[in-house]
């Protein structure tokens, strides 16, 4: 039965009806000094407090009024500690994961948003790791609130946070296979079994073929 027609779903499971324009997403570029507003002060303080600054920070992007520091993963823990202790970024607001399948070697990004209440500043740390070696040191010892955020990023993307006190799934059931928010995971997920009957994943069900 190989009819082709308007109905039915294949491929990504996108049932929105919109086409399949594939963009390759690599956000490139790096901002040069001066960065503007308080970003220069943050960068200077960090350089002063952390002598290995130029080795640890891969690039700096200042875009749309926000500062992003790309940090190498083995330096992440030290940079985070210095940001918390010397530069007064007391609060890590959240950890986010993004999957860029086209950026080979650096597919998985973990983004830490930091907030300094005393100085009213916000910056962002971004760490990229590859699919083959998705390990990032855990920052739970620096900011305890990253505990659940790192669990969620692990659950959704498969980034393994080393030295996390309890890295398990938090959103999906504990025995769920796969990491749902990766780009290679279908929207409809896996087939669900209900007491012996298997129902196909939602992305397969609109098929009128």
């Amino acid at each position: 039965m190989s009819e082709k027609g308007m109905f039915g779903v294949s491929g990504s499971g996108d049932t929105s009806g919109f086409g399949g324009l594939v963009n390759s997403t690599v956000i490139t570029g790096s901002t040069q000094r001066p960065f503007g507003t308080y970003f220069d002060q943050v960068a200077d303080d960090l350089e002063r407090a952390y002598p290995l600054f130029s080795d640890a920070i891969e690039k700096v992007i200042v875009d749309r009024g926000e500062l992003t520091l790309f940090v190498k993963r083995d330096r992440l823990f030290e940079v985070a500690k210095i940001l918390r202790d010397e530069l007064r970024f007391e609060m890590c607001v959240g950890v986010n994961g993004v999957h860029y399948p086209n950026e080979s070697g650096r597919e998985l990004h973990a983004i830490y948003s930091l907030l300094s209440i005393t100085r009213n500043q916000r910056i962002r740390l971004e760490v990229s790791v590859s699919d083959q070696d998705p390990h990032i040191p855990s920052l739970v010892e620096v900011w305890a609130g990253t505990n659940w955020h790192e669990r969620e990023t692990y659950d959704m993307f498969g980034i393994i946070f080393d030295n996390h006190p309890g890295l398990t799934r938090i959103m999906m059931p504990d025995d769920w296979p796969g990491h749902p928010q990766r780009k290679d995971y279908p929207l409809g997920g896996i087939d669900i079994e209900y007491k012996g009957a298997t129902v196909p994943a939602p992305s397969e069900r609109r098929s009128y073929r």
Partner: protein, 446 residues
């Protein structure tokens, strides 16, 4: 005692020892059975379905007598995959998804998302003042309705039944305003990238003024019931203690942070939507307990009413201004309004695209089917929702659909503090502490 024959109540051996499921029967027989094992600690599961856990939250408590030695939260029972779903819809449809995350404060979700999209588009300064003031007014009304649910359900869980009825009565007045302005009581999808979906209808401002008067008068009912009430004070003072150090390391914001004495509110510290032009105070207490958070929420209601009155005054002066950006390439896909031809376009425009310009036809086609494009980049926008800092991480790859939408929901962080607040206390205080955090599981699990 049905510990062996009931399919849901069998006991099993696990690595941690014997686990009993109790679904009814005589408590004494369970206690004697446990007593025989010489275990001092009991792990109790306040499962996802429980009247006092604010939604589908699973609390796993390890008890020694009535004191809690360890507590863990099991979350994820409402995980909806909204963030992944937005990657398959265009930017405007993202609003309808995102509004259902923290379902008690839909306008805040929408506004945070739209502020992020506008930042990526670079049109933050092009959003008209009328649209911004309407957004602020709807947000403050939403703050009132969310706090009403928080107070009502918090009181209900601790045994006070009347505040719940009063709170929902006031909430209905606010929902009437929502229905008048946007058409729906909840999950309105009213705030759109570039402005709001439609302007206020005629007579809205007078209805709003009347509602503000009624609310201000009726808030006293709940105050009289609870504020000086000795039972309420006994159950909430000194409970759920979390000081400033705990809050900052756990990333906790909102009324919980303000109950430690720190007046941190994003509306004052990092103003958005013109909040720097409004006069209002930030209520704080310094007792770090449930009672302090309750007082903060009650006082925030009055401050929200103040802001709404200022919004109404501004809106009266801004009559006739548009509520969406001028750039039609963003405005039409955002508003999706139905126009004279039943499809949102003027007849002149149809004549032009059908008869005169091929490029115009192509543009129209792409705009209708795909929506507007957002330049590539990454942005983090944060606003002050009733529960704390609601942040949105938006990544765009230059296309018509979001590449990644991640919400930093305040309830997700705030709920992490249950262990810190409850361990060492009693079981009944867990209810009070969780109620004071005011988690909305839709936001926690997304």
């Amino acid at each position: 005692m049905t510990t062996f024959t009931d399919p849901y109540a069998s006991s099993q051996e696990t690595t941690e020892g014997r686990v009993y499921s109790v679904t009814g029967g005589d408590w004494d027989s369970l206690v004697t059975e446990i007593g025989a094992t010489k275990e001092e600690r009991v792990v109790v599961n306040m499962g996802p379905q429980h009247p006092s856990t604010h939604g589908v939250l699973r609390l796993i408590l390890e008890l020694e007598g009535e004191t809690i030695t360890e507590t863990r939260c099991g979350i994820g029972y409402l995980h909806t995959g909204i963030e992944k779903n937005t990657e398959y819809r265009n930017w405007t449809q993202g609003v309808t998804f995102v509004t259902r995350m923290d379902y008690l404060s839909p306008i805040f979700n929408e506004t945070a998302y739209c502020l992020g999209v506008e930042k990526l588009l670079g049109i933050t300064n092009d959003v008209t003042e009328r649209a911004t003031v309407i957004r602020v007014m709807m947000m403050e009304f939403n703050r009132i309705s969310s706090h009403m649910v928080a107070l009502g359900t918090g009181a209900l869980e601790l045994g006070a039944l009347s505040p719940m009825i009063f709170a929902f009565r006031e909430r209905e007045k606010v929902l009437d305003i929502f229905e008048l302005v946007s058409g729906l009581r909840m999950n309105m999808a009213y705030v759109r990238p570039g402005g709001v979906a439609q302007d206020l209808p005629a007579g809205a401002l007078s209805k709003i003024k009347q509602t503000v008067k009624d609310l201000r008068h009726n808030f006293k009912d709940n105050e009289k019931l609870l504020v000086g009430n000795s039972i309420w004070i006994k159950r909430t003072q000194g409970i759920g203690y979390l000081d400033l150090a705990g809050c900052t390391t756990l990333g906790i914001t909102g009324p919980v942070l303000r109950s430690t004495g720190l007046a941190w509110d994003l509306r004052k510290a990092q103003p958005y939507c013109g909040y720097e032009d409004y006069q209002f105070d930030i209520p704080t207490t310094d007792t770090c307990d449930v009672y302090g958070r309750f007082l903060i929420r009650m006082q925030e209601l009055e401050q929200s009413l103040r802001i709404i009155e200022q919004c109404v005054a501004k809106l009266e002066k801004l009559e006739g201004q548009p509520v969406m950006v001028a750039d039609k390439k963003i405005a039409w896909p955002s508003q999706l309004s139905v126009g004279a031809d039943g499809m949102g376009n003027s007849l002149n425009h149809i004549r032009e695209i059908m008869g005169e310009s091929m490029e115009a036809l192509i543009h129209h086609f792409k705009l209708v089917t795909e929506g507007f494009r957002v330049p590539a980049g990454q942005v983090y926008t944060a606003i002050e929702s009733p529960r704390g800092e609601l942040g949105v991480n938006l990544v765009s790859d230059g296309g018509t659909r979001p590449y990644r939408v991640h919400f930093r929901d305040p309830s997700f962080n705030n709920l992490q503090s249950t262990a810190a607040m409850c361990e060492g206390g009693q079981v009944a205080d867990v209810i009070a502490a969780v109620a004071s955090i005011d988690p909305v599981m839709g936001g926690v699990d997304r």
